[in-house]
Point group: C2
DNA sequence: TCTTGCTCCTCTAGTCGCTAGAGATCGTAG
DNA sequence: CTACGATCTCTAGCGACTAGAGGAGCAAGA
């Protein structure tokens, strides 16, 4: 059951250069090679890469994923750490949503003008003058 | 009314290296220099940089900001373009919010376990198996 | 006058998570 | 044998900065 990198790519939906990149930074283990120096993958690689992809889709960064992989490899340890990583991530997501929502309100208000000329344009005006805006500085 | 770069930084809240970076990529004009080669700014720079900062805070990217600056410099032109940029940005923000909200739901569900061991950990489990998850692939 | 300490200068390289491209090699089908 | 596709390595680029090295300018105090 030896998969070439292209096959692995198709099965997991992860692009070939990305697979090589993951290997380079230690997210995927170096696979054995064929005589002609091609990478040969097996089922374990498919699983690992699926895990990584899924975690990326959920927005975890590669450092977090590294930790989660470590944890997944030790099923008998307590899972506090995994929960913690996930909760921290959740907090980040919620923070982003909150800030984006504030932005939406602001930008929405900007677009509610239909003046003819730049001179009186709400968009430009709001940007030029902090005073017109309720926006608070982000960290 | 000559401001050193540090002063400009304090007045606008934009960090010094960022100011130099903006100059380098043409977002800020090159200011005149003192005898000792220090940059000398005036009120126009303060305003321009304030505009940029504000737009960045609202999430506009530097290319959009370049266009907006162009527009702001021609008050007698129609402002359709500015409106368009703002509306496009608004659409992006709304898209991001929608996707983050989906993620939040997903990650929230992951964190609602309090098993003891990694073996049964919801977080790891969900990541390992696509099937456990309603998440759709992002573009 | 000298020194201390702050600001400023330029330049390069690093961040994150890839992505793109060049140029070479491998493997296979006709 | 040849053509073509898949793969190899290596380097550089994206956006929007940020960090650091190594040097020079400048003002105030001793």
């Amino acid at each position: 059951m030896n998969l070439a990198i292209g096959e692995l790519s198709k099965r997991t939906g992860v692009k070939i250069p990305t697979i090589r990149y993951y290997e380079q930074i230690g997210i995927l283990p170096e696979p054995p090679r064929s005589e002609g120096n091609r990478r040969l993958y097996d089922e374990t690689h498919v699983q690992r890469l699926g895990f990584v992809r899924h975690a990326r889709e959920l927005g975890f960064d590669l450092d977090a994923i590294r930790e989660l992989i470590e944890l997944a490899g030790h099923p008998s340890r307590p899972c506090e750490k995994a929960d913690e990583i996930a909760r921290a991530h959740l907090a980040k997501i919620e923070d982003k949503i909150a800030r984006l929502s504030a932005l939406r309100t602001e930008v929405e208000r900007m677009t509610q003008c239909s003046n003819e000329m730049v001179e009186n344009c709400r968009v430009i005006e709001v940007l030029a003058d902090h005073g017109n805006c309720v926006h608070e500085t982000r960290r």
